[in-house]
C-alpha cells in the first residue's frame, strides 16, 4: 500500500482537521440549517459528504441528509471517450425543491465534473441554491466555476494528477500529487486519469 516515494501533501490528520474547518465554514455561512442537504459526487465525494455530515452532527446535533450523485450520464465526453465507467445509481431520496444543496467532491480541476453534476442535480428539482465544497482545488479551470468551500489549494501542472485516497474506499487517508504515469493508490484501484 502507498509505497510512494513522495510524501503525501495531506495525511489523515490534516484531512480530518481540514474537514472540521469546512464543516464550521458551512455552518457559519448558512443560517437555515433545516434547509441544507449534502450531495456527494461518486465515489470519493460521497465519502467526504458523509464525513462532513458526521462533523456537522457532532457540532450542531442535526442530521443532514446525504445524497449520492453519479455524473457518468451527464459527462460532456460520455460518447467520445470510448468505454464507460461502470454506471452506478444516483440515490437522492429526499426532495431538493427549495433546498440549499451543498455539492461535495474530492478534487476540483477543469470544472467539467461540476458542470455535469449541476445538470444532474437540476434534473431532480429546483434547489434554492447550490454551493460547492471540495477537498482540493488544483486549478486549471476550463469553465467559469468556483468552489464555496476549499480544503486546500494545490498548485499543479496540467500533466500531474492529484490522487485523493480515503479510508472507506482505499484503506488510507492521503492526498498525493502524482507525476504522469505513476500511481500511489493501492492495487485494484485505478486512479481517475486526468480527474476532471
Amino acid at each position: 500500500m502507498s509505497s510512494s516515494e513522495t510524501s503525501p501533501v495531506m495525511d489523515a490528520a490534516k484531512i480530518d482537521r481540514t474537514l472540521s474547518r469546512m464543516a464550521h465554514e458551512i455552518l457559519e455561512k448558512n443560517r437555515d440549517l433545516a434547509n441544507l442537504v449534502l450531495v456527494g459526487i461518486r465515489t470519493r465525494g460521497v465519502v467526504l459528504a458523509e464525513r462532513l455530515a458526521r462533523k456537522i452532527r457532532d457540532i450542531e446535533g442535526i442530521e443532514m441528509p446525504v445524497g449520492i450523485l453519479d455524473i457518468t450520464l451527464y459527462r460532456d465526453d460520455a460518447t467520445t471517450i470510448g468505454p464507460h465507467a461502470l454506471l452506478k445509481a444516483t440515490l437522492i431520496h429526499f426532495p431538493i425543491d427549495g433546498k440549499k444543496v451543498i455539492l461535495v467532491d474530492d478534487v476540483l480541476f477543469t470544472g467539467r465534473t461540476i458542470r455535469a453534476a449541476l445538470d444532474g442535480i437540476i434534473d431532480f428539482g429546483r434547489p434554492s441554491a447550490i454551493q460547492l465544497a471540495v477537498l482540493v482545488d488544483r486549478g486549471h479551470r476550463e469553465l467559469p466555476i468556483r468552489a464555496d468551500y476549499v480544503g486546500k489549494n494545490l498548485p499543479t501542472t496540467v500533466e500531474e494528477a492529484v490522487e485523493v485516497s480515503l479510508e472507506e474506499e482505499d484503506g488510507v487517508d492521503a492526498v498525493h500529487i502524482v507525476k504522469p504515469g505513476a500511481s500511489t493508490r493501492s492495487e485494484g484501484k485505478q486512479p481517475k486519469k486526468g480527474k476532471r
Binding site: L73, T79, T90
Partner: protein
C-alpha cells in the same frame, strides 16, 4: 473491485445472447439496475446520447418491444425515428439490403432491427457502420427480451444461478426461448421445457435442458414459470386440434401453478392470449410479474444502448 477499464462489452453489436459471455450479461444487468432509477425521477431524461441518431427498423408488427426501445432512446436523449412495414418502402418492394444501404447513407449511429427472417441483423452488421441491435429475428433470437427476463428473475429471486425455470408453450417458433435458453444456461440456471410434442423442436435435449411433454411435469418444483404465446396463425399447421384443447392440456391454471414452488413467479413475454396458454385469473395473480417485465424492459434497453455507444473492448485495445 476490478479496474474501470473492464466495464465494457466485447461486441459492437447485440445480435444475440449466444455470442455473449456470462460477464458481459452481468455487466448489462448491473448497468440496467442504475437505469431503473431514472424512470422513477420527475424528469425522466439524461443527456447521455444527445446528438446520436437511432433508427428503429421494425419490419414485423410489434407494440411492446418497439415502444420500449423508443422510450429508452428518448430517456437517453437520442434522436430516433421509427419505420414500420406499412409506412416504409418495403411495402413498395425494396429489399432489406437496399433499405439498409439507404439508411446507412443518412449516417445513423445505431439501428434497432426486428425482422421475420433469422439473420437479418447479422446481414446489417456486415454492411453497416452503425451499431446493430437485434430486436427479434425470425425464430432465432430476441436478446433484449431474454435480458429483461433475467433482470426480472434476479430482481425477484436475488439470483439466477441455481433457479429452476420452466418454459412452456410453442418452443419451435419462439425466438424468446432460444435467447432465454442461452442466457439461463450461461448463468447457471436449470431449464425445463414443456409443450406439445408437435411444438418442440428435435434435438432440444442436446442443448442441456430437461424436456417434459406434460405441463404438470414441467412445473413441478420450479422457481419461475415462463409461458409463451400460442401463435394462433399456426393453428392451420395442425400442431394441435383446437385452442380449447390446448388450454385444457397446456394452459396455466391456478391448480397447475400450485405444482410449482410456493414463491413461484410467473412471466410472459406478451402479448398474452387469455384463456389459451394462460387462465385470466393466473395472469392477474399475485405471483405474476408480467408488468414488472415491461417496466424493466426499458431499463435493460437503456443499458444496452448506453453500453454499445461506449464502443467495444477490442476496438479500443488496438
Amino acid at each position: 473491485m476490478t479496474p474501470e477499464a473492464d466495464f465494457r462489452l466485447r461486441h459492437r453489436h447485440l445480435l444475440g445472447i449466444e455470442p455473449l459471455d456470462a460477464d458481459e450479461i452481468r455487466l448489462i444487468l448491473d448497468t440496467a439496475e442504475s437505469f431503473l432509477e431514472i424512470s422513477r425521477r420527475p424528469i425522466k431524461k439524461v443527456p447521455t446520447l444527445r446528438g446520436r441518431t437511432i433508427v428503429n427498423l421494425f419490419m414485423e408488427p410489434s407494440t411492446r418491444t418497439r415502444s420500449s426501445f423508443e422510450i429508452a432512446e428518448k430517456r437517453l436523449s437520442a434522436d430516433s425515428l421509427s419505420f414500420s412495414p406499412s409506412s416504409s418502402s418495403v411495402s413498395k418492394g425494396e429489399t432489406l439490403l437496399d433499405t439498409a444501404r439507404n439508411l446507412e447513407a443518412m449516417a445513423p449511429d445505431m439501428i434497432i432491427i426486428r425482422h421475420a427472417s433469422a439473420g437479418a441483423p447479422h446481414l446489417l452488421a456486415r454492411i453497416c457502420r452503425s451499431n446493430i441491435v437485434n430486436a427479434g429475428d425470425g425464430a432465432h433470437e430476441h436478446p433484449t427480451q431474454a435480458l429483461l427476463d433475467a433482470f426480472t428473475m434476479r430482481q425477484k429471486k436475488g439470483k439466477i444461478g441455481g433457479l429452476r425455470v420452466a418454459i412452456v408453450g410453442d418452443i419451435t417458433n419462439s425466438r424468446v426461448v432460444r435467447s432465454n435458453l442461452f442466457l439461463l444456461k450461461k448463468l447457471g440456471a436449470t431449464v425445463v421445457i414443456g409443450g406439445p410434442p408437435t411444438l418442440l423442436p428435435v434435438g432440444l435435449d442436446r442443448l442441456g435442458v430437461e424436456v417434459k411433454p406434460r405441463i404438470e411435469q414441467a412445473l413441478e418444483g420450479c422457481d419461475v414459470v415462463m409461458m409463451l404465446r400460442i401463435q394462433r396463425e399456426r393453428m392451420s399447421h395442425g400442431a394441435f386440434p383446437s385452442l380449447r384443447e390446448y388450454f385444457n392440456l397446456y394452459g396455466l391454471t391456478e391448480e397447475r401453478v400450485r405444482l410449482a414452488k410456493k414463491d413461484v413467479i410467473l412471466m410472459h413475454p406478451g402479448p398474452m392470449n387469455r384463456g389459451v396458454e394462460i387462465a385470466s385469473e393466473v395472469a392477474d395473480g399475485t405471483y405474476s410479474v408480467i408488468l414488472d417485465q415491461v417496466t424493466n424492459g426499458v431499463a435493460v434497453r437503456m443499458a444496452v444502448l448506453y453500453l454499445l455507444s461506449g464502443g467495444a473492448a477490442g476496438e479500443l485495445a488496438a
